[in-house]
Symmetry: C2
Subunit: 211 residues, 2 copies
Amino acid sequence: MPRVSPEHLERRRQQILDAARTCFIREGVHATSMQDIFAEAGLSAGAVYRYFKSKTEIIEAITGTVIGDLHTFLGELVQHDPVLPLDELVVRVAERVVALSGPDGTMRLAPQAWALAMYDPDLRRYVQQNVVGLRVHWAEYARRCVAAGLLPPDTDPVAAGKAIFGIIPGFLLQRLILDDASPEELRAGVRAMARESLLAAGATTDPVQGA
Amino acid sequence: MPRVSPEHLERRRQQILDAARTCFIREGVHATSMQDIFAEAGLSAGAVYRYFKSKTEIIEAITGTVIGDLHTFLGELVQHDPVLPLDELVVRVAERVVALSGPDGTMRLAPQAWALAMYDPDLRRYVQQNVVGLRVHWAEYARRCVAAGLLPPDTDPVAAGKAIFGIIPGFLLQRLILDDASPEELRAGVRAMARESLLAAGATTDPVQGA
DNA sequence: TTGTCAAGAACGAACATTCGTTTTAAATTG
DNA sequence: CAATTTAAAACGAATGTTCGTTCTTGACAA
């Protein structure tokens, strides 16, 4: 179809990206050949190469959108008034992660994005933006907790954000690779982890029960 | 060398694995060709294929050893008597992670292992073992904290282990991709995170009720 | 027409792997 | 000990396949 509307072009582009994402999730990025993408998109090589000049460009376009949804979602939760308890916040995010990491979920691409980011400079920038984006929300959460008097004034919210951040990739990994993590169990874990007593020097562990 | 000692064979095997690991860390697993491994090992194709029947077999052999060191290290720390404070424990592990994730560090392979585990069943088993191995230590830590009276008796140590687990991959990711995480900052973050007050509903304008 | 889009055959490079040959050190013999 | 045999070990060019990409060709709207 020659001389076609801009909408058509944009739709084609999306059609290709959707096909690529489907393939990447189903087979993995490296195991996906361009021919797989052609087939999934129902387009020819020539057509696809009209919209993207290389496979790398497609990978980059998709990697940039892996956790956009999560970013927005967390951003809203963090702004919730009153400030949500940490376990509540984490559970809600975890639930979203579960929803996004099913058989067709985009979160399945996250580990691949991390791995690719280590060796492709352009991709690395995208992934960096994604990670920073999430982390900034966590830092903002910590800041609000300080403001609400839930954390001491001398708290470093950036450091707190960096530490809390790990809970989610940790959850995702266990979910994707071991498939034995649930948001509710994570809530219990976070509730156990959020205790000053864990920072105290511990007593020796005999069979004797202290109280 | 024909009719050669078992030690020689074992050394050759290690020589190949070392070369492969070097290549995988330097270029990434997928970007490493067998020819790269031949060159790095200073061996011919035939020689390498005498010891490993495929590239996949080499990848599997290496993936199985990525975090063995960390596993042992954490295992010892967890058994420390008296029980170490959480922030102390995390900092020590983080320091080890830093040591193992430099330009030649094996921890650089972790994200690749995670990604590969999603699509290769054999590899997945190795990575599962690694993850479970670490998690078991964290659960044991939680158990000891309960025994020492640092955590309430009704704590679910497995859930706690799953939650705490994430701190380390989270740290590693930030270290590898953003290169802006340090053990000391992580300590500060963990100290901020370990507070019951984070579990209470907060308020900016509204009063709060207890749990 | 004229300019743009799509098709799909074709291409060349890169890849993992194979295999016939050569080298080598241990084993065997005299 | 020295000469010879033997089979494992190593070599590396060749193989066949697969891949990402390009190119030629035709189709169709303006």
